[in-house]
Symmetry: C2
Subunit: 308 residues, 2 copies
């Protein structure tokens, strides 16, 4: 039940190739599935990764470039064919509803489920999803069109109860849940207060995952992503093509690694590779460049599963 993992469905850039699909990921947080971006071919990616599509309740679109959202209409149509019920919430820039609602009306009328758009403002960081254990915040990114990254932040976990100690003190079972949440215990007979810290140990640290694509190098994201466990940061180009990266609103491997270093993240994942990289060896250059700066870097690939 404590599953927190990411399936890479596509980590290519604008042009689909035989090596990489356009951007799409599944963030699986304790069985709730979030589809992050929805490039063309997403349905094949979902099938290859054996994703139970019925459990996808939210779709997060970083921005409205085709390689991040042109799989959306087909995906919604297929859910409709499968008689999916309930609700799908699409979190995106406000233009998404204007663009996609007419397509849903035309290509998938009479859907069995409700499709709702929730817009966010890409100029500020805001909470777009919250439940008992998870918070999702947007991260303003710098690209050619309004773009947001996403921070998936697990909420603080319960403290670990020292069960034998509690039992030795005669604390009734009914109080355990409260103590794990941080409450002290007061003996009703003696009035003695036992601090929570004596009855528990620190909780397992909560985990976080950050998705940043597409974006130029931007240090303004550092305060939001600082210390996250895993950062997926686009690395469309090699350091050699820094100028091209800047002209097109993208990042290089070196820039991605510099952000990872400065934000003190645990692990860096590279992706959104330019289609100019024809082989794994080409992409390996990105990895080598990034690892010079931030050693705990990996290249993503389709069907990769990352445990956060």
């Amino acid at each position: 039940m404590d599953c927190f993992k990411v399936n890479i469905l596509g980590c290519g850039s604008a042009k689909p190739t035989l090596r990489h699909s356009p951007t799409a990921q599944i963030v699986n947080f304790r069985g709730n599935l979030f589809l992050v971006d929805c490039g063309e071919g997403v349905q094949i990616g979902l099938a290859r990764n054996h994703i139970p599509v019925g459990k996808i309740g939210h779709i997060l679109l970083s921005h409205l470039h085709g390689d991040h959202c042109l799989g959306l209409v087909g995906f919604i149509a297929t859910l409709g064919l499968g008689q999916r019920t309930g609700e799908i919430v699409i979190h995106a820039h406000k233009d998404a509803e204007r663009i996609f609602q007419p397509l849903f009306d035309f290509f998938c009328p009479n859907l069995s489920m409700k499709v709702t758009f929730q817009s966010f403002d890409t100029r500020k960081s805001e909470v777009i999803y919250e439940d008992d254990s998870l918070l999702i915040k947007t991260i303003p990114l710098s690209h050619r069109v309004p773009t947001a990254g996403f921070l998936f932040q697990e909420k603080p976990r319960d403290r670990h109860l020292l069960v034998e100690k509690c039992e030795a003190l005669g604390i009734p079972f009914a109080y355990f849940r409260g103590i794990k949440k941080g409450m002290d215990w007061t003996n009703p007979e003696t009035g003695e207060v036992i601090p929570c810290e004596m009855l528990t140990t620190d909780p397992t640290p909560s985990k976080s995952y950050v998705f940043c694509s597409d974006t130029m190098y931007s240090e303004s994201i550092i305060p939001i992503i600082r210390g996250c466990d895993v950062l997926y940061h686009e690395s469309t180009y090699s350091n050699i093509d820094t100028l091209k990266a800047h002209q097109r609103g993208h990042s290089t491997s070196v820039e991605a690694a510099t952000i990872a270093l400065k934000a003190e993240v645990g692990r860096l994942l590279l992706g959104h590779y330019s289609s100019q990289f024809q082989t794994y060896e080409d992409e390996k250059i990105l990895l080598d460049e990034a690892q010079q700066i931030f050693p705990n870097t990996e290249l993503t690939r389709e069907q990769m599963v990352i445990d956060i």
Copy 2:
């Protein structure tokens, strides 16, 4: 130069699966490429089939169901990225322009090439393309939305010149072209007329290819497709599911074969398989059923190349 072949890029139906992509084909007529339908994933199909996309000048959309056209925006965007110039003509129902033009404007602004829509009326057969050697006609089909099939008809070829005979008669080279086209030759000195038939033999028969998908069984197409060399006819379902086929505006294997038989075509290709068929063995049932009626039937599959 006499190439006339079809590449199957996708022969599945509405839901993309790991076995089949949605509908898309390339008709290559003497190096001019026509993209017939443009389902999601078409770019991968083009790459797998090593199609030189720069030579695609026309896109023909049978109808505006998503599995036949949702790859269009991504494909046009990629052509734009490649700085393709010239013109692409999209032949489709009139709604196509209303649906797709805003998407081109949004997702692929400042295209390097011109994209033009030419609408056809799916209620009648009309010529939508013609050059010196090829004619393309629409075929009204019976589906849930306005739908057309396409007849690719090679124009009559030149007669074969009996060169030695012409030379023995002293016919100047300059007359050869006219004679091959069917002109008699008149000796300017004697006034003697030599009929074309004595100077030539019959031409190689011209070839034709028909694409019919999606459609219910409809004998009204027979006069248009009669005697064609190769017929691709949808066969979404097995004979067992005839009722389901009719309810959804599709055909069974038996119905496709019956059309092929009655229209006296040369060869029948089945496709647009329901995603309920999970294995080749499942689809083999479609083949077996069809071959009972029309023996020269084949199952299409992705990356199949058919010489017409």
